[in-house]
């Protein structure tokens, strides 16, 4: 296959936009792992329920086929959908932790893992019962203008308003999270709990509250990711959490699980690997390529790309 610069640039944009979603979801995996060393398999399904909440809200705002045109209305609807979706999934995360993981906190490691798989199936069935098994249309909230960045006459590089929104929102969320973890008292409590739960408790940190908060933030980010996914892809279905969750999990491991910057880096890298694999190989190999990358990392660098900075894990 000949190298086509325009196409490569386009794939770079596609990869970044895929990657920013994986990064948002990967953060939830990595934060939870950082603080209680649990792979929260239900996380992808929280993301799915976030996309369902968002599509329901958009319907309640009366948007069906024609997007809004008034900029104020667009900002209002987007902000309200973001806030309600993130709060709803955040609370769901807290409930899941309280019901399915906290009673097992001192049990052998496998017990909460199995519990997480159970929660994952329950959430999928809730999704299936809520919206049915078919893919449902996610209406456009705003006109999805396409901007041509470059053109050589026959081919062009284009970017959609939605892609820009996805990039901007996920970057804002990631920066906000980093500031929260590094600069606030609650963030410090999270880092302390991650480092040593017992000692943190002795120092007067409310460990249960801090772990609940971590679940809230991780699940809220997944909910935001669900809304962005719906806008970007244009349709949602009750099984999307499985695939997206697996890839985000791969991203978290790639970056070094437990490490927040690592999850972001991993997300973008996985997005890029996917885009390039789709571009240069038959797309039927993409899944194999993505999980091949995961295996290679586990073999050669089990702690992930940024995994050495364990002291800063959350």
């Amino acid at each position: 296959m000949h190298l086509d610069g325009i196409l490569l640039l386009q794939q770079l944009i596609n990869g970044i936009s895929k990657g920013s979603l994986y990064a948002l979801i990967a953060l939830g995996y990595t934060m939870v792992y950082g603080i209680i060393e649990l792979i929260n398999f239900a996380h992808g399904d929280v993301f799915m329920l976030g996309s369902f909440t968002a599509v329901t809200l958009v319907g309640l705002f009366g948007i069906t086929n024609s997007p809004l045109t008034d900029p104020l209305a667009i900002i209002g609807v987007l902000t309200a959908t973001f806030l309600i979706t993130m709060t709803a999934t955040g609370l769901l995360g807290v409930v899941i932790e309280r019901v399915a993981y906290r009673p097992l906190r001192n049990a052998p490691k496998l017990a909460p893992l199995i519990s997480a798989i159970g929660v994952s199936y329950i959430l999928q069935n809730v999704g299936s019962a809520w919206k049915g098994p078919a893919t449902i249309n996610f209406p456009k909230i705003f006109p999805d203008t396409q901007y041509i960045l470059f053109s050589n006459g026959s081919s062009d590089v284009r970017v959609r308003t939605t892609t820009l929104l996805v990039l901007a929102s996920s970057l804002i969320l990631m920066v906000a999270l980093t500031l929260f973890v590094q600069r606030t008292k609650l963030g410090k409590a999270m880092r302390a709990t991650a480092m040593d739960r017992e000692t943190a408790q002795l120092m007067g940190i409310g460990v249960n509250f801090t772990i609940g908060l971590t679940f809230f933030i991780g699940a809220a980010l997944a909910g935001g990711g669900g809304l962005l996914y719906g806008l970007l892809i244009g349709g949602v279905q009750f099984q999307i959490g499985f695939q997206a969750g697996l890839r985000a999990f791969t991203a978290a491991v790639l970056g070094g699980i437990g490490n927040i910057p690592g999850a972001m880096l991993g997300g973008f890298l996985i997005g890029m690997v996917e885009a390039m694999s789709d571009n240069f190989l038959d797309a039927r190999w993409t899944q194999a390529v993505v999980f091949g990358v995961l295996i290679l990392i586990l073999v050669f660098r089990p702690s992930g790309l940024l995994g050495q900075r364990v002291a800063e894990k959350v």
Partner: protein
């Protein structure tokens, strides 16, 4: 600390992989729950009982009842497939009973439907293992003379060998997979161990659907350069192979071909690649539930203003609903004549509508209602011709069906059990719904 972390991770990965594997081999793995075999059988038996229509008590001095077995998917998300087809079959049986039933061995019999669902209880979709269990139940009932069904090709594959060994004939209203009847296929012996033909179908196969779609795109739509996608499953890959063969044989150009497995949702990078090859049509082999509506949206986002052409797997309202306005103008083929257009079918449609007015389609026959009606009528005619309450006699009479004039036109079965009445209907998305536009007969 580090060590325990790594081992914990490996355990988690093992679990991930097994989840992935289980997701690959069953359609809707995520909601599948293992149900003990015994429980399933009890449940389906109860369901079958509940579904069984009025038991013909039989006229005085008569032989009682004979049964036509019916295997269709109705539970879960499959109602739109199974129910309209079953209603077609029920109509044929009711009409035959009203006309006096059938006379076998000199005694008069009423016909009864013995229906079993191939969606296991609590699941969403048809399941070959359930079909196989249903086959056992049908074979065990000596009153069953023949079967209508199944709806899906992969279910047929799990039932065929059992039915063939038992000598029980079946007529499918809708299976289109080529290898079910292909004598050149090395695995055909597994499907018909006795070499006798027990499997028949009243619809055509993907061997015809794919080429007709290619002819239509090349000749009628004037498309010369195609990019092909398939969902990597038996049906999708098969129909895409057949399309590709015919399209390139006609002189069309294949710009590329990709597999997009179930579970793919972000098609942006695939569609950027496709757009760069400048196709004038895109062919998709697969079912709409495997993500094609999302691919259709990504096509539009990548700037492609070309139609998508697919097989009967996308001619469903799920496609137009999920793909929205982007699907407008797309084409799909269905391996059946459009019964609503045939004059022979007028009385069928009137009777069907009168009987099923209160169903969710207001009594309008759906894609395979007429096929179900036709299959049941061929069996009833064969029972009359056989004149004996004997599976082999009925089977032989079905195989000998010649120029049967029914609601699908004039049909015979060839030596492999396929219909010789090979019409393909072409549909297009207009105003957000699949609309019949044309039909083509396959003559080769």
């Amino acid at each position: 600390m580090n060590k325990s972390r790594t081992s914990g991770l490996l355990v988690s990965l093992g679990v991930t992989t097994s989840m992935l594997l289980s997701a690959c081999d069953s359609g809707s793995a995520a909601v599948n729950t293992a149900i003990p075999a015994a429980a399933t059988e009890v449940a389906t038996a109860v369901m079958g009982g509940a579904m069984t229509p009025t038991t013909g008590a039989g006229a005085g001095g008569s032989g009682g009842t004979v049964k036509i077995a019916v295997d269709l998917p109705v539970g879960g998300a499959e109602g739109a497939n199974g129910i309209p087809t079953r209603q077609g079959i029920q109509l044929a049986i009711d009409q035959a009973n009203a006309a006096g039933g059938v006379t076998l061995d000199g005694k008069s019999y009423q016909i009864q439907m013995y229906y079993l669902d191939d969606v296991p209880p609590g699941e969403q979709a048809h399941n070959p293992a359930q079909g196989s269990k249903n086959a056992d139940s049908f074979i065990a009932d000596p009153d069953v003379m023949a079967m209508v069904g199944p709806f899906n090709s992969n279910v047929a594959r799990s039932m065929m060998a059992k039915l063939n060994t038992a000598g029980l004939a079946s007529i499918s209203p809708s299976n289109t997979a080529i290898d079910l009847t292909n004598p050149a296929d090395p695995k055909i012996k597994d499907l018909r161990p006795t070499d006798k033909i027990t499997y028949f179908r009243v619809c055509t196969t993907d061997a015809i659907q794919g080429p007709v779609a290619a002819d239509y795109a090349y000749d009628k739509l004037g498309k010369k350069a195609v990019y092909i996608l398939d969902d990597t499953e038996v049906y999708g890959k098969g129909i895409a192979d057949q399309f590709e063969k015919e399209f390139t044989a006609k002189g069309g150009t294949k710009l590329g071909r990709d597999g997009v497995p179930k579970g793919t949702t972000d098609f942006s990078s695939i569609m950027s690649k496709v757009a760069a090859t400048k196709p004038d049509v895109l062919f998709y082999g697969g079912t709409q539930s495997n993500g094609i509506p999302l691919a259709r949206k990504a096509m539009a986002s990548a700037g492609m203003k070309i139609p998508l052409v697919g097989g009967d797997g996308i001619v469903e309202s799920g496609y137009t609903k999920a793909a929205g306005a982007d699907a407008e103008g797309d084409y799909g083929t269905v391996a059946a004549v459009n019964a609503n257009l045939l004059t022979e079918a007028k009385s069928f449609i009137d009777a069907y509508t009168a009987k099923n007015k209160s169903d969710q389609w207001q009594g309008v026959p759906q894609a395979y209602s007429a096929n179900g009606y036709e299959a049941a009528n061929i069996i009833i005619a064969a029972m009359k011709a056989a004149g004996k309450k004997d599976r082999e006699a009925v089977r032989a009479a079905i195989a000998a069906t010649k120029d049967f004039k029914g609601v699908l036109g004039t049909s015979s079965f060839d030596a492999q059990g396929d219909t010789t009445n090979r019409w393909i209907s072409i549909y297009q998305v207009k105003g957000g719904a699949w609309t019949y536009i044309d039909q083509q007969k396959f003559e080769k």
